[in-house]
């Protein structure tokens, strides 16, 4: 139908509007805002499905907001990167379902409607970020999801939450300004804010301002994506945030940073810019360091949320290795891994949240023996941990295989070793958790007497765990799906 493009802005507008309305409609009510938020997220997901079907059918399409054509107006564009809006909406929906019981204990009752509002606004900002074709619009949506993320981290009642949120805010704002500055430079150089047009105008440019803009954009998005060594905000934010927020942060917000980087590469990728190759090499090396460093740090953590946070850093490292290698297999693998990791990490954070909610404890040694007391949650966590470590045919495998293959194609055998090694380390801490859950007797009284979490908490975990298997089996189709985007970003495949 030729009207589909008109639905494109809905991806961002629906959640934003829904979010803004929430505190107005449901002030001080604890439960109804949850249903409302879930409904909004569900409708957004439905819109995303329809747009995705249109994408598969007839390729990319764009939409000029307000009827103003791209040169003067904002263009929205739905391509493979925009398709991430679907898993994003679904993940947020599941996190919201989970939140129903969880936030009752972690957030002040008066602020609960604000919590749901912020989550929806975050989703709106994220979706908008993914589908926009205009640089400044990109900045605005980025700020929307970033600021709502800062506020969400601060929602927990712990004293440490405010400090962690502030640290996140300061680092995040710094990176956003880098992006804004670079957008300004690009505008100064090309006179346009439209990504596609600017890419054409910037083709092969090797001037200093171009280099500056590229560096600024890359750094800014790298901070958002928690690439080593600018990943510092992530562990603190995760330790303080409520579990569903951690899930959204690790699964979605950092992936937005990755998406931003993909757009940057699209902007500067055509032709042979002098700065592109050093940037890609840098991404490769930092990714490799982040992978190993993150995995090793995760291994030594005793707090379960910190362990998962460092695991996120490691997985982002994989993705950057893939992006830095710049071959078709590697980049395709990185993009597929971004989606798969989002699903798996959400499952893990939600499961961890359920365990913390039921026992009040976060240390892995304290969570021993929960395998019998919380069977559904523990099974979900164990299953997803196996998936995360890259055991085929589950979701963690496809991306890594493709990235390793891409490494060989690019003549760099070292990343293969890094990937295999990191995979073993991930298995190590995964096994440690599984051991604690199933093969150790409980160590604390609160674990002995704990019961299974409410359905609204373990059901999303299991759904996501099953998805980790399903996505793994569908890996081949996913790779085929992202192939056109890879082509578009890197020009011709090498």
């Amino acid at each position: 139908m030729s009207e589909w493009p008109h639905w494109l802005p809905l991806l961002a507008v629906l959640p934003l509007l829904g979010g803004v309305l929430t505190p107005l409609l449901f002030r001080r009510r604890p439960v109804i805002p949850c249903f409302w938020a879930v409904a909004v997220a569900l409708v957004t997901a439905a819109v995303a499905v329809m747009l995705l079907l249109r994408l598969i059918d007839s390729g990319d399409f764009s939409y000029a907001v307000g009827g103003w054509l791209p040169q003067y107006g904002i263009e929205l564009r739905f391509d493979q990167i925009g398709a991430f809006a679907l898993p994003a909406s679904l993940l947020v929906m599941l996190a919201l379902v989970f939140s129903r019981h969880y936030v009752a204990r972690t957030v002040d009752p008066e602020k609960i409607s604000y919590y749901y509002a912020l989550v929806l606004i975050n989703l709106g900002g994220l979706n908008g970020f993914l589908v926009t074709g205009d640089l400044f619009n990109l900045f605005v949506f980025m700020e929307i999801f970033s600021v709502s993320a800062y506020a969400l981290v601060a929602m927990a009642r712990q004293p440490i939450a405010a400090l962690a949120a502030l640290k996140y805010l300061l680092l995040g704002a710094l990176s956003s300004l880098l992006v804004l500055f670079s957008v300004g430079v690009v505008f100064a150089m090309t006179g346009t804010l439209n990504i596609e047009d600017a890419a054409v105008l910037l083709e092969g440019s090797s001037s200093m301002p171009a280099g500056l803009a590229l560096a600024g954009l890359a750094t800014g998005f790298a901070v958002k994506a928690a690439l080593f060594p600018v990943h510092f905000w992530l562990p603190d934010a995760h330790a303080a945030a409520p579990a569903p927020v951690s899930a959204i942060l690790s699964a979605l917000v950092v992936k937005a940073g990755v998406a931003g980087l993909l757009r940057t590469l699209e902007l500067f990728g055509g032709g042979e810019s002098l700065y592109l190759q050093p940037l890609l090499s840098l991404m490769l090396w930092l990714g490799a360091l982040g992978t190993l460093g993150g995995a090793l740090m995760a291994l030594v953590q005793r707090d379960i949320k910190l362990m998962l946070a460092y695991s996120t850093i490691a997985n982002i490292g994989y993705i950057f290795i893939g992006l830095g290698l710049a071959t078709t297999s590697a980049v395709g693998g990185a993009m597929v891994h971004a989606v798969n990791h989002a699903v798996m990490k959400s499952a893990l954070f939600l499961a961890a949240g359920a365990m913390i909610h039921q026992t009040g404890l976060r240390n892995i040694d304290d969570l021993r023996g929960l395998g019998r007391r919380m069977p559904a949650t523990a099974f979900g966590m164990a299953f997803t941990l196996v998936a995360l470590s890259g055991v085929p045919p589950m979701a963690g495998f496809v991306g890594k295989w493709q990235i390793a293959l891409g490494a060989l194609e690019a003549g760099q055998p070292l990343p293969v070793a890094v990937l295999v090694l990191a995979g073993l380390v991930v298995l190590a801490f995964g096994v440690r958790m599984i051991n604690a859950l199933y093969f150790r007797p409980p160590a604390r009284v609160s674990t002995v007497s704990s019961v299974e979490a409410p359905v609204s908490m373990w059901l999303p975990v299991l759904i996501l765990a099953v998805a980790s298997l399903a996505l793994g089996l569908a890996g081949s189709s996913m790779l085929e799906f992202v192939a056109p985007a890879v082509q578009a970003i890197y020009g011709t495949p090498p």
Binding site: A151, A162, L163, L169, L174, F187
Partner: protein, 136 residues
């Protein structure tokens, strides 16, 4: 000569970058949280100034339709961008200040050194063996 002239032609970049770096320095190295926010604001201002100058036209007129004003007009697009940016900056700053108020109330200080040493603070950065509950 060419270095000086290329520097001169890129003076707008230079000023913006140096202000930006100044703000960044303050943000990263200051021990007082309020000063960090000030540094952030300096950075934001530098970026806005830079964006506005990209639209400037020598001997240009303000982009208004009024008697006595005629072309060439300065580009109004950067003005729109900066206005949006200012709104974003205001919201970020206000959020930061609210958080600082809460930190002051809960941890007793806005100086990072004092917060790190204060007995109430249980900083969970790094690999702490934290047994604290996530929910109070």
């Amino acid at each position: 000569m060419t270095v000086v002239s290329s520097l001169a032609s890129h003076i707008d970049y230079l000023v913006a970058v140096s202000l930006f770096l100044t703000g960044a320095w303050i943000l990263l190295t200051s021990g007082n949280l309020v000063k960090k926010v000030i540094g952030l604001n300096i950075m934001e201002t530098s970026v806005f100034a830079f964006i506005v100058t990209t639209g400037m036209v020598d001997e240009g007129a303000p982009p208004l339709v009024a008697a006595g004003l005629q072309g060439p007009f300065a580009s109004p697009l950067p003005h729109a961008l900066v206005l949006t940016g200012i709104v974003v900056a205001v919201s970020v700053t206000s959020l930061a200040l609210v958080l600082i108020l809460r930190i002051k109330a809960e941890l007793g200080s806005v100086e990072l050194d004092e917060i790190a040493l204060a007995p109430k603070a249980d900083d969970s950065a790094g690999q702490s063996n934290q047994r604290g509950s996530a929910d109070e």
